[in-house]
């Protein structure tokens, strides 16, 4: 049986751990607020971008062949999975759930005889995917040094993806990230970004859609807009991911703090019982010693 001193040491160390998890939870909470604000600030741009692309693409679709980013390459043999995860752990199942979704998709595609390549953003996803798909990871990127996610980071990734697309290295690109729903619910999501899926617009009830004038021509605009949209989608994914990460970290640290509390209670109970047992034993020894005299 552990001595009383050992038990005291163990309780103290559990308490220290609890303090750490508590602090991490609070840090995550404050960072979450900032990440959430950033994600919300980026929303209007992305939404309007979607709307504009939908309206232009609708017009361009009628005029014949669109650019490859919109219409695809006509094949779907090679898939690029762009997997965005966090840089750090201690966030519950956050990273694993994104990786799991990507892995399932990859296996399903490979069963169909397709070729799968990976582009990992974030250290954790890379580490997990490397175990099974080491040879298929064509590129990985860490955003560790980045303090504040800027649009530049997303643009950077988009440029790399586009360079590979222009080289004909893949036909379809799917983005994996975690959508931020609430602090306790993050939904790992797969979103196809190349070729772009344009949401069908609901039928317009009030007459035909307005006829736009374009300057320069619509395919010129579309040509400039599509790469930009790619960056915007990636940016949005990164921001959602960031918010999700802190949400996941916060709730997992909350759990850890609570578990540490439970553990401290249990350990203290055992400690006190042992202490009392020892006191009783000593008393018995003293009394029986006195009786013997």
């Amino acid at each position: 049986m552990a001595s009383l001193k050992d038990m005291r040491v163990r309780i103290a160390s559990t308490k220290a751990t609890q303090k750490i998890t508590k602090a991490m939870q609070m840090v995550a909470a404050s960072k979450l607020r900032r990440a959430q604000m950033a994600a919300e600030a980026a929303r209007p741009y992305a939404e309007r971008m979607d709307a504009v692309i939908a309206s232009i693409a609708g017009a361009a679709a009628g005029s014949g062949t669109g650019p490859a980013l919109l219409g695809g390459t006509g094949k779907d043999q090679v898939h690029l999975l762009l997997v965005c995860t966090g840089e750090r752990g201690l966030s519950g199942a956050f990273n694993s759930s994104i990786v799991r979704l990507a892995r399932e998709r990859a296996l399903a595609l490979m069963n169909q005889g397709k070729e799968v390549k990976f582009f990992c953003v974030g250290r954790k996803g890379y580490e997990q995917l490397r175990r099974t798909f080491d040879k298929q990871i064509v590129e990985h990127l860490e955003l560790r040094a980045v303090k504040q996610l800027g649009f530049v980071n997303a643009e950077d990734i988009a440029k790399k993806v586009l360079a590979r697309f222009d080289n004909g290295e893949f036909d379809v690109c799917t983005l994996f990230f975690s959508r931020f729903k609430t602090v306790i619910a993050q939904i790992p999501t797969a979103q196809q970004i190349i070729p772009l899926v344009v949401q069908a617009k609901p039928a317009v009830a009030d007459g035909p859609a307005p006829v736009y004038e374009y300057e320069p021509e619509e395919d010129e605009i579309l040509k400039g807009l599509l790469p930009r949209n790619l960056a915007v989608q990636i940016f949005r994914a990164l921001l959602e991911n960031n918010a999700s990460f802190y949400g996941a970290q916060m709730s997992s640290m909350d759990n850890a703090t609570r578990n540490a509390g439970d553990m401290i209670r249990k350990q203290t109970l055992i400690y006190n019982r042992t202490r009392q047992a020892m006191i009783t034993k000593e008393l018995i020894e003293i009394i029986s010693g006195a009786e013997a005299i």
Binding site: A41, A42, Y45, P210, E215, I221, G224
Partner: protein, 135 residues
């Protein structure tokens, strides 16, 4: 004067939203002004200065490319980067121009032409910024 709704959004934030009288936009193929009741119109932007007039006050915002869309609901500008004239970090902007000039040497053909064109736009903005700063 009739007003219309104007939204200026950049990827990082909603930079401007509200009712305005007139907006002058630097289009890729020439500047244009938008008033209430403009016909539906989509135009690409070049780096330049956008002037927003509302209720007699003028506000200048620097945009570095993007897209403008006019429809019956109003004008929406999707700017790559939007900074108001007061907030612009002049030193950083000058650095950016210097960096672009350096990079020119590596480029050739049509890429070079486009880079020079873009650089010119930047220089025009800088000139404007410096001239207004003196007043």
């Amino acid at each position: 004067m009739a007003t219309f709704h104007f939204d200026l959004v950049s990827p990082e934030k909603l930079a401007f939203a509200g009712e305005v009288d007139q907006v002058d936009v630097p289009g890729l193929e020439g500047d244009f002004g938008v008033l209430a009741g403009h016909s539906p119109f989509v135009a690409a932007l070049r780096p330049g200065i956008m002037t927003i007039t509302s209720g007699g006050t003028k506000q200048m915002i620097i945009v570095l490319g993007g897209l403008a869309e006019v429809n019956d609901k109003g004008l929406t500008v999707l700017a790559d980067v939007a900074t108001s004239l007061q907030d612009l970090d002049r030193a950083a902007f000058a650095d950016q121009i210097a960096a672009m000039e350096e990079k020119l040497a590596e480029k050739e053909g049509s890429v070079l032409d486009r880079a020079i064109e873009r650089l010119d736009h930047f220089k025009v903005i800088q000139q404007h910024v410096n001239s207004t700063a003196m007043h």
